[in-house]
């Protein structure tokens, strides 16, 4: 190793997240210079130009019929955006994953279905390779009289408890072949209070696969904390980028100043 060279050349990733309903971005995007803030293609193109390391596209469309729109949107994005694209939301079967990969997704994220049918993760990893299978986990801190406080998986946007303990679940998913964990703290999501670092660290240490931290980012310091204290390999955020508070280059230069390896 030559002096001054990082020992860990792999860059930490910054991932903007788009919530998309029937082909339109919701939870508003408020970029200067964007003509149509609801157009996922235009927003994706903008993040691609700014130097985002990856994009996550979360389909929150309620009805199954409208999901064709998703594949179509993914196709349009993939034609113009030359960074990795993760697509999640409503993935139920191996054929859903195939459709999204064929449309141009690089990774597909499985959330609720992994809870009802963990074998889907194994089948998908065997069929398409672990590298494109992301397991998304929505967790909340649970206090009870009988046990120590712990983190459990929730479904339905954090409303429905499952009783499943988060760290053991992440390990199980990794063992089944997941290639990455997308961890969202439902306690922090939308609060701008920063990542839930305790559970982030616990899972990052417990699994050998990369971890994306999500939920609660309100400042650039939160991004750095997710990596340095939470041990995350990538950090995901929506509003701080969508509303033009910070650009991707600003976030990267901040992280670089904290000694974090980033792709400039």
């Amino acid at each position: 190793m030559t002096a001054g060279r990082s020992l860990m050349p792999l860059a930490k990733r910054i991932i903007p997240c788009l919530d998309v309903d029937r082909g339109r971005v919701v939870k508003g995007v408020n970029f200067v210079g964007i003509r149509d803030a609801g157009d996922p293609v235009e927003i994706a193109r903008r993040y691609n130009e700014e130097g985002a390391d990856e994009l996550t596209f979360l389909d929150i469309t309620a009805s199954h019929e409208d999901r064709d729109t998703t594949a179509h949107t993914v196709e349009k994005i993939a034609r113009e955006v030359f960074i990795p694209l993760t697509v999640g939301g409503g993935v139920r079967e191996v054929s859903d994953i195939r459709t999204l990969l064929n449309a141009g997704a690089d990774k597909v994220s499985i959330n609720t279905t992994a809870i009802h049918n963990p074998d889907l993760v194994r089948q998908a990893a065997e069929r398409f390779g672990s590298q494109c299978i992301v397991v998304a986990m929505d967790v909340k801190r649970v206090e009870s009289a009988e046990t120590m406080p712990r983190y459990e998986l929730f479904t339905h946007g954090g409303r429905k408890p499952t009783g499943i303990e988060a760290v053991a679940w992440a390990q199980k998913m990794a063992a089944l072949g997941a290639g990455e964990i997308l961890l969202t703290s439902m306690d922090r999501d939308g609060t701008r209070d920063g990542f839930e670092l305790v559970v982030t660290r616990a899972i990052a240490d417990a699994v050998d696969i990369p971890l994306i931290a999500s939920g609660g980012v309100g400042s650039l310091a939160h991004l750095a904390a997710g990596i340095l204290e939470g041990g995350a390999d990538a950090v995901l955020a929506a509003s701080i980028f969508h509303f033009g508070e910070f650009t991707i280059p600003e976030a990267k230069s901040y992280l670089a100043d904290q000694g974090i390896e980033v792709r400039i």
Partner: protein, 193 residues
């Protein structure tokens, strides 16, 4: 960028035979990939494209891994044997030189050290970052074919070059400017080194 380019996604021997250049991409696990490659006779098509001697061929990710002799993935799979060597698992206890644990898959933007001068590296800085996502890495027998390396607990083959063949472990199509430059270079390449 180039004024070309028509591309076809095909396994039709006539189309591939008539093509000016061939891309052999790949995403997925090796056993199913090899099964499909054989079922569609892509192994023969690829070998004749390479035998042509000057038709540029670009193999990507699993496409590159399939060129070697054998892969450890899916319990061990015989592959095309065009480039002698093995494809190996990173291992569960991968560590950096300071002893910190490294996650597998090797996923994200890593630097590529260029080991040879090659038309496909034109206008790309040495140690530019490309996007990688893989749990297995190619280890060709001959170091002479290694055109670029990555560093991730070990020094692995990021790119290989032999005659009219160029193979990359990373995804140029997902590697933003450096990746688009490499694809542009491929379109400009006449298949010689």
């Amino acid at each position: 960028m180039s004024a070309l380019t028509e591309s076809d996604v095909t396994h039709d021997p006539a189309v591939i035979g008539a093509a000016d250049r061939v891309v052999f991409p790949g995403v997925g696990a090796i056993r199913d990939c090899m099964a499909e490659i054989k079922r569609l006779r892509c192994d023969q098509l690829l070998k004749s494209a390479l035998a042509d001697g000057h038709k540029p061929v670009l193999a990507i990710c699993v496409g590159m891994q399939a060129l070697l002799s054998r892969s450890e993935e899916n319990g061990g799979v015989e592959t095309l044997g065009i480039i002698p060597g093995d494809v190996r698992f990173f291992g569960q206890d991968l560590k950096d030189p300071e002893g910190n644990r490294l996650k597998v898959p090797h996923m994200g933007w890593n630097e590529v050290s260029q080991k040879v001068k090659h038309p496909l590296w034109a206008d790309i800085e040495d140690r530019a970052r490309f996007y990688f996502v893989h749990s297995y890495w190619a280890s060709p027998v001959s170091e002479e074919v290694v055109a670029g390396t990555f560093d991730y607990g070990l020094e692995g083959c990021a790119a290989l070059a032999k005659d009219n063949l160029f193979g990359v472990q990373f995804h140029p199509e997902k590697s933003h400017r450096a990746g688009l430059q490499l694809l542009h270079n491929f379109l400009m390449w006449n298949g010689t080194c």
